[in-house]
């Protein structure tokens, strides 16, 4: 956690700096009528810099030994698999369409990550995609991405 705190503290310190600089230079800090569009970003940036510095100081002084915050072993593999498959679904959404994408996504997770048997996997995947389509596309009239197959 200590290392994570230092990374987060460093990153947020830079973000704060970026906001403070942008507030002064890219946007108007003070306009003739009063505070401009850069006013609050500047002060937010300064506040974030203060908080991030406090976190950095604390993490340097804190106890050296502490547990890892990211999982290891099977937990990590599963986390990465779920995240990867979700990102893949979003990437191909426009090509496959929502319905086919959902089925592929569920098959990938249920069959290949969770090790479920084919019959239940297919039943859940097709059932969910159909329910999703009926609720959102038919009932709520959300124009789903249709994909190259036309549905």
């Amino acid at each position: 956690m200590r290392r994570a705190d230092q990374l987060a503290g460093g990153g947020l310190l830079l973000l704060g700096l970026g906001f403070a600089v942008a507030g002064l230079r890219s946007y108007t800090y003070w306009s003739p009528t009063g505070p401009g569009s850069g006013f609050l970003p500047f002060w937010l940036g300064l506040t974030m810099m203060g908080l991030a510095t406090a976190l950095l100081v604390r993490s340097v002084r804190g106890p050296a030994a502490d547990g890892a915050w990211l999982p290891t072993g099977p937990g990590r593999r599963k986390l990465l698999a779920v995240l990867g498959v979700t990102a893949a679904l979003i990437a191909v959404l426009k090509i496959t369409g929502m319905a086919v994408g959902t089925v592929l996504f569920l098959v990938a997770i249920l069959r290949f990550v969770e090790g479920m048997r084919w019959p239940s996997t297919l039943a859940i995947a097709v059932g969910t995609a159909a329910a999703n389509y009926l609720i959102f596309a038919r009932w709520l009239r959300v124009p789903f991405p249709e994909g190259v197959l036309g549905f």
Binding site: Y27, L40, V82, F105, L140, P143
Partner: protein, 504 residues
């Protein structure tokens, strides 16, 4: 009689067939969401918000409010039978609830929770109904300085109270405010922090962020845990959940105390049902004449916190409806919903949208009645739902996250934002940051900025204007105290820790 006319209007709205169906769907889904570990009321509301877009706002809020109330009831089932809280406001119920279940008294534990929840929920709505119009009328006199001071108070108290680490809580809040800066500035028309991306002109939209943080983020935290839940074999049929005279005698005052405490805590901006349930449990143990039984299956230890969390969930609507400041993470997401439906939360809501406010209030009465029946007679049904393996539930929630985020603007961009904030939410949760504070800041950010700048424009004395008007002075001082007290405590602890290290 203005008041009764309003209430009659509310019930006429609540009793339309579609709204009745929405309330019933809300309580059922809410109980289920409360019962399932890994999805709580915030995720539930964020995930279902997209379903309400096509609806009349009244129907939408009725479903979401019923869901919120239902989740407060449902969380108990998991706490008592699995010793795992279904949602955070039922954490403390595990202590005595699970002990009761081990002693074969799961039935009375679930029964007293349902009855306590019903009493507290109903009394909470009565108080909400009586208090809100008065508060709204008072808040009508607020100018920009008061509005800003109030938002500052809401932001600082939520942050100070929700996270385990106040420093990280404040960092989450400032990050949320920073995100709120992106997009067109309403006063000057400048496009800020868009980096040339067209989609960023509208700013960082609240819904994909909320779905990412609370939907996908929670699922990812759950995904890495390889757990096996064991549901205790117990009797919870209709006859088993009835209370004996002795149980009732022990729990009735606990219910009353839990209700009062829960409502008071819930009304405060920033303190929601979770804090209320913890305080109610502590209070009950203090006033009890047999404190040694707490932790070993004392029925008061279930009755008090379960009443308190329901009273607080009703009370959380008071600041949200009258002031536009949410009292909990869940109402913060609902507030975002209100804005998406095109309503302006705040005191004018009572004048401009009486059907919305009173329809909501009337539906909360109905929801509590539905929930009492559901949580006395249908417990076995919800226990069966608990047997759905997380392996199946998890991908279904992700599909819902993806579809929900997409349906906002029918753009894949929003789904990408959702994914990014899913990862952010996962990291925040694991590292002790506060997604609730970030969300609240993102929702309130644009309103707070406008109030701040308007205040400074009308002020001749710079920021001193916040201390020159009585109401805003009190609110600002309270907000500053909400930051200063935890900061001073942390500093004192650090100094003491170093002194001890030097002495050793």
């Amino acid at each position: 009689m203005d008041f009764f006319a309003n209430l009659a209007l509310g019930f006429s709205v609540a009793f339309t067939p579609f709204n009745l169906v929405m309330a019933a769907a809300g309580v059922t889904l809410g109980t289920l969401i409360g019962a399932l570990p890994g999805v709580g009321p915030v995720s539930g509301v964020a995930l279902l918000l997209p379903l309400t877009f096509g609806m009349n706002p009244v129907s939408g809020i009725i479903m979401l409010a019923a869901l919120y109330a239902g989740s407060m009831y449902g969380g108990t089932i998991t706490s008592v039978l699995i010793n795992t809280p279904g949602e955070s406001a039922s954490v403390v119920t595990c202590i005595d609830g699970y002990q009761m279940a081990l002693q074969g008294r799961a039935g009375p534990a679930l029964g007293v929770a349902a009855i306590g929840s019903f009493v507290a929920g109903t009394v909470g709505v009565v108080l909400l109904m009586l208090m809100s119009p008065l508060l709204a009328r008072w808040a009508l006199s607020f100018g920009p300085p008061e509005t800003f001071a109030l938002m500052l108070l809401g932001l600082t108290t939520v942050t100070g109270l929700t996270g385990e680490d106040p420093l990280k809580g404040y960092m989450s809040m400032v990050l949320g405010l920073m995100l709120a800066m992106a997009g067109f500035d309403i006063i000057s028309g400048d496009a800020r922090f868009t980096f040339g991306v067209n989609e960023m002109l509208d700013g960082v939209e609240f819904l994909p962020v909320a779905i990412g943080l609370f939907g996908l983020g929670e699922v990812l935290v759950g995904a890495e845990q390889v757990s096996d839940m064991r549901i205790l074999r117990a009797r919870y049929g209709l006859r088993d959940v009835m209370l004996s005279a002795a149980d009732w005698a022990r729990s009735r005052w606990a219910i009353v105390r839990g209700t009062v405490l829960g409502f008071v805590i819930g009304v405060l901006p920033g303190a929601g049902p979770t804090i209320a349930s913890f305080l109610a449990y502590t209070l009950e143990r203090k006033v009890s004449n047999r404190p040694q039984e707490f932790g070993r299956g004392a029925i008061e230890g279930v009755a008090a916190p379960e009443s308190a969390n329901n009273a607080a969930s009703s009370a959380a609507f008071v600041p949200m409806l009258t002031l536009g400041i949410p009292g909990s993470a869940t109402t913060a997401v609902m507030l975002g919903g209100l804005m998406m439906w095109g309503l302006r939360p705040g005191p004018l809501l009572f004048e401009k949208n009486p059907d919305f406010v009173w329809g909501l209030i009337a539906s909360l009465y109905l929801a509590n009645v539905m929930l009492l029946v559901l949580n006395i007679a249908f417990i076995p049904m919800f226990v069966r739902a608990l047997r759905i393996p997380y392996a199946v539930l998890m991908p279904l929630i992700i599909v819902f996250c993806v579809t929900g985020a997409y349906s906002l603007n029918n753009k894949v961009w929003d789904v990408g934002v959702m994914l990014v904030f899913g990862v952010v939410g996962y990291a925040m949760k694991k590292l002790g940051y506060s997604p609730a504070a970030l969300t609240l800041a993102l929702v309130l950010g644009p309103l707070a900025e406008r109030a701040l700048r308007q205040s400074l424009i009308i002020s001749d004395a710079g920021v001193a204007i916040f201390f020159m008007r009585p109401i805003s002075a009190v609110l600002t001082l309270l907000a500053l105290a909400a930051v200063a007290v935890p900061a001073a405590r942390a500093l004192r602890q650090a100094v003491r820790g170093r002194a001890r290290a030097a002495a050793a």
